[in-house]
Symmetry: C2
């Protein structure tokens, strides 16, 4: 019910597939980071239901456009998404290839002194690479 409204209010039809993806993405205690393939696996595990790869891509991109998901800038052959859409930062563990959230309070204020004419700042993201 909750997700039906969320989708309707976003101009997205509340299909069976989208509702199942909402359950996996948003019906959790903690936020998390994922790739498309990891999400596809989670969907199958949690819902015992196969959603086509194209639909997973379509839905994730639709949710990203609506602001329900964020992409994480990182060097990887796969795109990483985040269900934590608050302003925050990341550790990236180079050995385990795992992302860990860094709250704004863990980083302190960042004051960008340089200005570019005619452009405004949309986001400021910090990536802290870790190794053993």
């Amino acid at each position: 019910m909750e997700y039906i409204d969320k989708l309707r209010n976003s101009g997205l039809r509340p299909t069976k597939q989208r509702l199942q993806i909402c359950e996996v993405l948003f019906n959790t205690e903690k936020t998390f980071h994922f790739t498309i393939n990891e999400l596809k696996k989670r969907i199958k595990e949690k819902t015992h239901n196969k959603i086509s790869l194209a639909t997973v891509y379509n839905t994730v991109h639709a949710f990203e456009k609506k602001g329900y998901l964020k992409q994480i800038p990182i060097n990887s052959n796969q795109t990483y998404f985040d269900t934590n859409i608050t302003d925050h930062h990341h550790f990236y563990d180079l050995n385990d290839q795992k992302l860990i959230d860094l709250e704004n309070s863990d980083v302190g204020p960042i004051n960008i002194k340089k200005k570019i004419d005619g452009k405004r700042i949309k986001s400021v993201e910090v990536l802290v690479k870790l190794e053993d």
Copy 2:
């Protein structure tokens, strides 16, 4: 001569191809950001000599491993490299898809308060996204 020593000291044989790539990458006033395909184009323009795509990839990865190039973490279908290997940060212009350097002094000190057991910080990189 300069580059021959640089390569020899790194355990890389100073081949014709590697020396030409060194000229394009390092014999410039300013540092710059590039993708593999942009670099391949620059090589052909500057040296009037075709180097195979595989060699461009091989060489860029060899130079990255030796610390002569850095990869820039960014969400793009292509990998971006940087000839500026100092610690620094980036603006990313979402409209023009262009990278602009942000010196450390433009950002101020970043104090990461959170610690992860058994891991140490290898790098701290800030990405500031810009829009019109």
